[in-house]
Amino acid sequence: MGETTVTEPKLPLTDADRPAQSGVRGLLRFATAGSVDDGKSTLVGRLLHDSKSVLSDQLDAVQRTSAARGLDSPDLSLLVDGLRAEREQGITIDVAYRYFATGARSFILADTPGHVQYTRNTVTGASTADLVIVLVDARTGVVAQTRRHAAVAALLGVPHLLLAVNKIDLVDFDEAVFDSIAAEFDRYAVDLGIGEVTAIPVSALHGDNVVTRSARIDWYTGPSILEHLEQVDLSDTSGDGALRFPVQYVIRPRSEQYPDYRGYAGRITAGTVRPGDEIVVLPSGVRSVVSSIDTADGAKDLATAGDSVTLLLVDDVDLSRGDLISGAADAPVPVTEFSATVTQLADKGLRPGLRALLRYGTATYRVIVIRIEHLLDIDSLTEVDAPTALSLNDIAQVTLRTVEAVPVEEFRPGGAVGSLLIIDPADGTTLAAGMVGDRRSALRHRRTADHTERCRPTTGLLATGTASDQREAAVPSANFPTPGP
């Protein structure tokens, strides 16, 4: 394959041509979290309904059921009620995904029901979220569950947090109630090191400030929930920095037309790549140069984080699935022992001495759990003594050791870099998911760094922190990797 660039023909369709449907300011992935009965189903139903994302047959079904239950108006929570039945039967609760679009954006909502398995679900739902809506009941305010959800969002590096103070109608639309809840939550968020919090007073049941702004809450001048979702800044930093490209598959057609083609297929997880860029293959350390970036639509001059492409190299390198192609200038150093913040997702708990499989990037390694350093109390994000083994939903700091060196590096928000799974070799169960490094101290560092520049105008209304840098750019790498014992 040469380094030719396909001249791109004039287009009948770009996303910008269809502002009425999707994509102009891209896609927002968000998650909802709240305790049972805070009004999460009603809020989500209201959001779908008032944004005209509910189709008539679905609405008919809800109207029929509501009427059958003797209700005057349709109970919008029924729109998203698929999981409620499960909850009542006490079986596994899952994250449900919902899709809607407005003139400004497309949305993927990860709906995570409040439940005993909350941590597992919230972690799963929030793992890919740009924003988490944490719901509270205005009558009870911030409760333990609220703090947990915020803590999980913070640990995962979710850049935006929205506090929905729901049932504001039940406290007579009282500004003082809202202000004190928003202020309390904000103090906690600052403690956690969360970059940005927005608080909005809503009545999901009556629709105030969900899609349209409420005339009944005249002291609040900020956006409705949907407006905020449409406007929130999604500046993407994943293209910054050096290339990371886990190789998924080697493409070798061995056809008449392409006798010697050898391309490395994958999805860029960080940085950008151009033909001519110097790369290093990890863990082998072999160096080469990118000769071309291939796709089914022709060769590219440039590809960036999120793109699925095929890289061709100048040299004949021995490379296979599981290898990492990295920018030569700033490559991770493979290690055999490192620390990670993990969430226990299955009943069989991690414990010292446990042998398992480690999934990192596209590679799978044998791994042994060396130590559980400590557990995180997720109500307060304080460290508590390590148990002998982790239980479902625990979040803990662990030290892992591998036989082969792994090019791990500090977790980055979004999880394209630095995320891992620990898998039971016996039956393939995903035992735990992890983030390389020490997430709690990473947040703490960020909090101290933020503290000076963050002057807090927390006088209710729109409690918005400094939006200057919601991402964790420069986390000191002192905690990582951990030195051996």
Binding site: L55, E86, V95, D111, V123, Q248, A265, R267, T430
Partner: protein, 314 residues
Amino acid sequence: MTGNTIQTLPGSLSAAGHARGHLRALESEAIHILREVAGEFERPVILFSGGKDSILVLHLARKAFHPAAIPFSLLHVDTGHNFPEVLAYRDAVVAGGDLRLTVAHVQDWIDDGRLTERPDGTRNPLQTVPLVDTIADERFDAVIGGARRDEERSRAKERIFSLRDAFGGWDPRRQRPELWDLYNGRHAPGEHVRVFPISNWTELDVWNYIEAEQIVLPAIYYAHEREVFLRNGMWLAPGEWGGPVGAEMLQRRQVRYRTVGDMSCTGAVESAASDVGAVIEEIIATRITERGATRADDKLSEAAMEDRKKEGYF
């Protein structure tokens, strides 16, 4: 032109340049998933019916492994009540030569008594057994389907990698949480994983992509005149499977199909949309879900889909 060549004509999505549009992100995600399947499994297969979602999956697979051949074979469960236009499309795709197609005929299972015809003539629910049998016989370990999470409520929580036991069954307790883009495809011998690379696409995304990539679909997706009759609020096409009966009357209508399943339970919608652009306009204006409009079997009960999924249906 058959659907088995990649369209890189004007209108190709690539021409959106570096604009990181929504469709492009969905495409990259689907390609990533398909390459994971190729990297992690021994005997993957694409469920290919000639319906638009499976055509889309095949198109994405071609893009994922270009310029090499797709490292998957194709599987079709033929109810015997398929639309001839759709079968012709399927066969044209395979005639390209580089794909191996296995067809499981529901009729064979009925003939040798492994299945019994239902009184209502509907064969959609009968697909499960031939599907599961064929997966076992052929030792397929990854079965790639075009299901989307926006289609139906119980699909909303489906995984991208969905673990099935040796009977094709789906046990909610054994489904693994999926975080970030780390997909865990490990399974015991005899088990397999169903993979849904277009989980995150909506019906509108699919049509926008079909337009952008100029993907050719069977003609019945666009408005055409057809003899149909009304049953349970749906326009059905007549056929050996048993219709029209009694007072049901054949009439000529201009219709198109939004899904193309078994003829006995796949209804047409009245429509004048004769090309992709018009279909897109119509979808934006329509307020009925694809399944609500055209799948009789989903109307059977609210839990219909959930039940069939537990049995191994897609």
